[in-house]
């Protein structure tokens, strides 16, 4: 076991998690808000008008799951949670880019908005900004090579 300086006794009890601290806390809160918003929206769409646009509403549900996984894994310590966060944020970035591009290129196929339509236009482009900030944060807090 590594010896820690006596001047930092509280560091000993803390697990090696640097993601849920400092700016990471704000990032996690924004992810949590999107997880809640996307889950509620997808749940509402699927419960009330699923047959209108099954694909769009399934995409909404998928986005909601991605946000939930990202929120939880960012808040959890450990290398495994780091990998899950990285995967979730990359899926999120791919999702917002692909769905964003498709929704503009083929507006007929996406008549009903998802969180990622128009690169997250309906949410102030936060869905586009969030994975970029997430990746920057993950890069800064990446675990040391084993």
């Amino acid at each position: 076991m590594r010896r820690l300086p006596a001047t930092a006794p509280d560091q000993r009890a803390r697990p090696a998690n640097t993601r849920a601290t400092g700016p990471g806390r704000l990032l996690i809160v924004v992810y949590a808000v999107f997880a809640i918003a996307a889950t509620a929206r997808a749940g509402f769409q699927i419960a009330t008008k699923f047959s209108d646009a099954p694909l769009a509403y399934l995409l909404s549900a998928f986005a909601a799951v991605v946000y939930i996984v990202a929120t939880v894994s960012l808040a959890r310590p450990g290398t495994r949670a780091f990998r899950v966060s990285l995967a979730a944020v990359l899926v999120e970035l791919a999702g917002v880019l692909v769905i964003g591009a498709l929704s503009i290129a083929d507006a007929q196929a996406f008549p009903h908005d998802t969180v990622w339509s128009g690169f997250g236009r309906g949410y102030g482009y936060v869905p586009l900004l969030l994975p970029v900030l997430g990746l920057l944060w993950l890069r800064r807090t990446r675990p040391a090579a084993e």
């Binding site: 400092g22 806390r25 704000l26 809160v29 924004v30 808000v33 509620a40 509402f44």
Partner: protein, 117 residues
């Protein structure tokens, strides 16, 4: 947009400015920033009580009632969760967390207004 929305708008924006300002000045969460978030919660609680009274008095919600109450319940939980999350780590970044509450509350109040009318 009714009086409740404008109340949340004003209190929410003041709270966001106070908390973001404190974060920029590198202050940790303190009584002022936490009380400003408490003021947002109080405003939302007044919105809740007022809305319950209006429904009892026979007013009709134009949109889906359960969507309105869902937004209301979520909006009421967010300030509490943010304060809890901020107190777990008292750094200036937690003031940015608290600053997010006011903006979220006003967006949700705007949505609640849309559903109601």
């Amino acid at each position: 947009m009714d009086g409740y929305f404008f109340a949340v708008l004003i209190v929410g924006l003041i709270s966001t400015v106070i908390c973001a300002g404190a974060a920029v000045l590198k202050k940790n969460p303190n009584d002022i920033t936490i009380l400003s978030v408490a003021a947002v919660e109080l405003t939302l609680a007044v919105y809740l009580i007022g809305s319950v009274i209006r429904v009892i008095a026979g007013e009709h919600i134009a949109g889906e009632p359960w969507e309105f109450w869902g937004y209301m319940a979520t909006a009421l939980i967010i300030p509490v969760g943010a304060v809890y999350w901020a107190l777990l780590e008292r750094t200036r970044w937690s003031n940015f967390v608290l600053a997010a509450v006011g903006v979220i509350a006003l967006v949700m109040a705007a949505r609640m207004n849309q559903i109601w009318y």
